[in-house]
Each structure stands twice: as structure tokens, then as C-alpha cells.
Symmetry: C2
Subunit: 359 residues, 2 copies
């Protein structure tokens, strides 16, 4: 017997006996209904699926009493309207990535992707156990937003190129679709960082409006068909070594949740954060193999001197960001402090691990 | 209180008092009460705390209706009795590591630590998204157990030594506390793998009963005071590059849970799995620095030819394990298949990431 049927029957009995109803209305209370808007196309593989997964877990853990309807970008709110919609309480929740909001909160960029910044493991550790989350909350609090680690792509690819990058000189004049801090780094190297929406990348590359583009990784890049319009596939993704997605929740809406629904929501999102990385790690290589063997994509590594030059510019971009905004400075200090420690630790753990595989 | 009893009592109450019955009795229903036994000392930092964390999350998400009492090793069941106690349903749940049960289920070792095996990220990906979990469930099903990834230490340290390891010859006759597959590898290299319980390591090392020991990582090793009785601290932890802890749940007990409590339990454990790695990553380096700067510990890297020799023996140990047990063979095939793919992927992602930090 379902609870609702039971209440009905119990209620009927009680009424027959001339009794009052007590707490029945509370038990029959409507579920909490939330809306989550996202920056992704509806059910977009892995990223949009992550948003769906959060809603599924919350629904299941609450026994259907807390339901979140997930909307793809544009279905309810335009992708780039997610931050404002959740901030203003138009909807309770959003899913995207923090670097989309750099115009509103420059410091948010540290919680998405930093050129030559953290990989997924270090980003998770910094945010969860190294003081990062308190700062992220501080960045978002003025916007009535509570942030969460909401997924991770792992180390991304460097992008698709129609010209080879053999030296620093090849970056000069390069027209590349590369957003955010990575774009600023490329600009310092003499390139043109061009903004192109996801849906227009293919055509722009095909028509030569751009010479190169970054996207996500083999799994997504294959789906977008970028191998049909670009020759070379470069690695590593220096500009996004562990891109973190985010869930954002309107603080007022969150405060209205019962204590158990708060933890259910928190835990569902945190589970999704690790699940998504597992999916990326498990699926990217198969797609890469298909690109190389079936579609004859040429895999290339950025030369060390190119990476070195880009890294120098990346440091400058971060210093400038910190100098321009007190909150960014505060976050950058924490980031640098954690970086110095985790690099030391990596040196005797993950670094030799990556080496001894081939020994 | 079971639903049937409730209905009975509710009916009786209505008849007796003609009173406001509502749903109050249902709300006052007794919580589900579980016991979790662990292989760790009570509230042992990070590992035992992980078990506590699972219970806390389950309690909070269920609004106090699903409570798990956590017991340290020996409080209710001896540490090495955890598997049987959960298998037989004496208690509903356990927390430990799968390699402790190699005598009962040899294939379980792949889900704890494999010499020159996976780091945390690859282990999580293999188990979660690469087919590993289905196999782990197959390994444990005959024991009425449902397994979970229940925490990860990250890449461990190589251990504490009172003699330097400068060549393969130095491994011969080495008396080292190193359990499991790692111990078998050392034995092939001519060493003596000696079983010593955690609580006796210090004294054994002090008295020269053993020349060396592995433990966990700087955070735990510092607490155990191993720097007082050993000179050299070696890395990397070739024998345990991403030690996975486990939660195990009695299948019969699990099946009795409501659908929402099942997902609450699943998600609480999965959240703990990623939380623990964050804690290890964030705290180990501070402890390492204290060991080096304050306690003057000498940090050493195993020479490449030593690692190479150990890796050769590790392959032999795994091949022999697979040859001796059909289930181990099946798991090993999946492990190898995933390894070949993830190594390829690491090569263009995590590997250059570890390098470009220094570029």
C-alpha cells in the first residue's frame, strides 16, 4: 500500500469515527518542486546528463518528495541567463560553469578552469578540503548563490587546428575560438581569441573564420564532428587542465528546505561531481581511438617552448586578474598556497605514478 | 514499528479514543537501526572518520529515520571478522579494504590495491564507469555482500626503511612489513614480507625485528611516530598507488531497505569515497613537511632499476593470481583492458599535466 492510499483509508476510518484529521494534511503535502536551469543543450552528454543525474538522485532519496525539473539552455532561460535567474530566485537552481560569470564575479574563474591550474583531483581537494569552498561561497554570497562542485571534465584536449603549431611564432595571428582566461593567454601570445558559440564552431572552422578551436575532449569533439573540418588535434589542454562544472542554488530557496533535503541536495551534487569525471575518463579514450584510427585525425603535442611561453603569459593573466579585483586576489592567494603544497605532494606521488607505468 | 503493526495500533487508537489520529504514529515510527563494523581503530583519522561520515550523511538525509552505529575494529567484531559478520548478517554493514579478504575471495584484491596498478582516479573510473563494479559485485555475491568504493588514500608512500635501497640487491633479505600482493612482489625480489599488525609496527621496527615497513602516508605515519624508529622515507608507493577502501553491505539487509534509503545509503558512501581522497590530498603534504623539516626525515626515491624489477615481479604475481582462480582471471582481464585504455589517455592528459607544472 502506498502512503497516499493509506492516508485515504485511515482518513476515511477516522472520519467515520468522528475524529479530527491531525497531521494528515502535512503528510499529504505536495512535494517540494524546484526548477534547475542549465547552460547546456537539453540532456547534453555527460554535462547535461549530470544535471539530470542530480535531479534523479534527489527524487529517489527523498522518495519523490523533492522534485527538480531540469531545463536545457534556452528552454526556460537562455544559457547565459542562468546565473541571474538563480540569483534573483526566478528559479531555485542552476548548472553550468563558473567562468561563464566572470563579468559579474571575476574571482569565479578560479572555480572553473585556470590555464596551467589544477587537474580534477587537485581542484576537488582544494575546494573540498583546502579552503576553496569557503572562498567560493564568499564570491557568490552577494548574489544570493550557494556554489557546488558539479562535475569535472578531467584534463581537456588542446584543441583542433588547421595549421601546425611548431613554435611560439605560429601562435601569432592565430584566430582561435578559446574563451575565458585561456583566451587572454593566447592574446598575450599574439593570437586572436574569438568568441564563438558552441553551435557555430563547426561552420566557423569550415569557412576559415577561425583557424582553431578548443571544445571539450574526444567524446564530445567526435559528436560535434570537428574532425571533419580540422586537421590536427593538439594536446595537452593547458588552458583547462581540470574544468570544474558547478551547481548553483538560490540561498533563500535553500534555506527553506528541510534539514534532510539540504543534505540530500548537497550529497546528490557531490556524487555527480565524481561520477562525471569517471564517465569522462572511461569514455574519452575510445572516442580518441575512433578519431585516430577511423577518421585519420593527426594527434599532435604542443612543443615544450610553446607551453613554456603560454605558461609565462598565464601567470601574468592571473596576476593581472588578482590586481584588478580584491576578491580575485584573495582567491588567488589561496589557490597559490594550495598549489605550492599539492605540487610538492604530486612530485612524490602522482608524478612518479605517471612515470612508473612505463618503467 | 512495521506498517502492519501501525495500522493495527492506529485502528485501536481511533476506536478507543475517537481521537485525532492523523499520521502521528507513522511519524513516530522507529528508525531503521543498522550496525557498521570496521577494520579500523575507533574514529581512526580519515579511514574510520570515513565510516563515521557515511553514518552521519545517512542519518541526516533520512531525517533521523535511518541510523547506523559505527564500531571500531574489536569493539563488536574483531577487525578481521568484519567480512564474515556482514556476510552472515550478524551486522548489516562493514567498512575496510577488499584485500583483507584475499583468503576468501582472491579476486577482491583488484578492488583494493594492485602493485603498479591504478591511482585513485583510474580506479574510480574503472569501477564506476568501466565495468569494474559489476565484477566486484560478482566476486562478493556468493558471500551475500554488496560492495562499494568507500574511500581512497591516493598514491601511498613507499615506506620507512632503516637501510638504503640503492639497488635490486638491497631488497634481498630485507625484512619488511608489507602485506598482500605487494608482499608477494617483495618476496619474488628476495625480500621477506612479514605480517605485523598495525599496533606492533613501531616496536618491531625499533627492535630490528623488521628493517622496513609500509603504512599509509605522511599524515598517518607521523601520528604513528615511525620517524622515530626509521631513517629513510621512500617514495613512490609502487605497491599501493591508489588504495581503495570499501563499504560492504549484507544483501538481505539492503533488500529490506525502502527504495529511498537504498539510494541514500549508496550516495552517502559514494560521497565519502571522494571526500576521503580530498582529505588525504589536502593534508599529506603538511605532514610530510613536518617530517622533513622538524623531524629531519630523509626522503628517498626508489631507484628506477629497483622499480623496474619490482614491476616485472608485480606482473608475474598478477598472472599467477589469474591462473590460480577463474574469478581473478576474469577481473584481471577487465583490469588489463581498462589499463591499456586509461594509460593511453593518461599519456596525453594527466602525464603532460604532471610535466607542464614545471615547464
Amino acid at each position: 500500500m502506498k502512503r497516499r492510499e493509506f492516508i485515504k483509508k485511515a482518513g476515511a476510518g477516522a472520519l467515520a469515527a468522528g475524529a479530527a484529521m491531525g497531521a494528515v494534511p502535512a503528510m499529504a503535502a505536495k512535494p517540494v518542486m524546484w526548477k534547475m536551469v542549465t547552460t547546456w543543450p537539453p540532456h547534453f552528454p555527460m554535462l547535461g546528463e549530470g544535471a539530470d543525474y542530480i535531479a534523479k538522485l534527489v527524487d529517489e532519496m527523498s522518495g519523490g518528495k523533492f522534485k527538480i525539473s531540469v531545463y536545457g539552455g534556452g528552454e526556460l532561460i537562455p544559457p547565459m541567463g542562468v546565473f541571474d535567474a538563480v540569483s534573483q530566485g526566478t528559479v531555485e537552481m542552476g548548472h553550468g560553469a563558473a567562468y561563464y560569470w566572470s563579468g559579474k564575479a571575476p574571482a569565479a574563474q578560479f572555480f572553473a578552469a585556470v590555464p596551467f591550474g589544477f587537474n580534477a583531483q587537485s581542484q576537488n581537494s582544494w575546494v573540498t578540503s583546502g579552503g576553496g569552498m569557503a572562498l567560493w561561497e564568499e564570491v557568490y554570497k552577494p548574489f544570493n548563490l550557494k556554489p557546488y562542485l558539479g562535475g569535472n571534465t578531467g584534463v581537456q584536449m588542446g584543441g583542433w587546428f588547421n595549421k601546425e603549431i611548431n613554435s611560439v611564432a605560429d601562435l601569432k595571428g592565430l584566430k582561435m575560438r578559446i574563451p575565458g582566461l585561456g583566451g587572454q593567454v593566447l592574446a598575450k601570445a599574439g593570437g586572436n581569441a574569438i568568441l564563438v558559440a558552441g553551435g557555430e564552431i563547426y561552420t566557423n572552422l569550415e569557412r576559415g573564420v577561425i583557424d582553431a578551436t578548443e571544445w571539450v575532449g574526444p567524446y564530445h569533439d567526435l559528436k560535434l564532428g570537428l574532425h571533419k573540418v580540422a586537421k590536427y588535434y593538439y594536446y595537452p589542454g593547458w588552458h583547462e587542465p581540470g574544468t570544474t562544472l558547478e551547481a548553483i542554488v538560490n540561498i533563500g530557496a535553500y534555506e527553506k528546505l528541510s534539514p534532510e533535503f539540504k543534505v540530500i541536495l548537497d550529497t546528490a551534487i557531490e556524487k555527480t561531481n565524481s561520477w562525471m569525471l569517471c564517465e569522462f575518463e572511461a569514455k574519452n579514450n575510445d572516442a580518441l581511438n575512433e578519431l585516430i584510427t577511423k577518421h585519420k585525425v593527426e594527434l599532435r603535442k604542443f612543443p615544450d617552448d610553446v607551453l613554456k611561453e603560454l605558461k609565462t603569459y598565464a601567470d601574468q593573466v592571473l596576476e593581472e586578474l588578482a590586481a584588478s579585483d580584491p576578491m580575485s586576489k584573495k582567491v588567488y592567494e589561496s589557490f597559490k598556497n594550495f598549489r605550492s603544497k599539492i605540487y610538492e605532494w604530486n612530485k612524490i606521488t602522482e608524478e612518479p605514478y605517471q612515470q612508473f607505468k612505463y618503467i
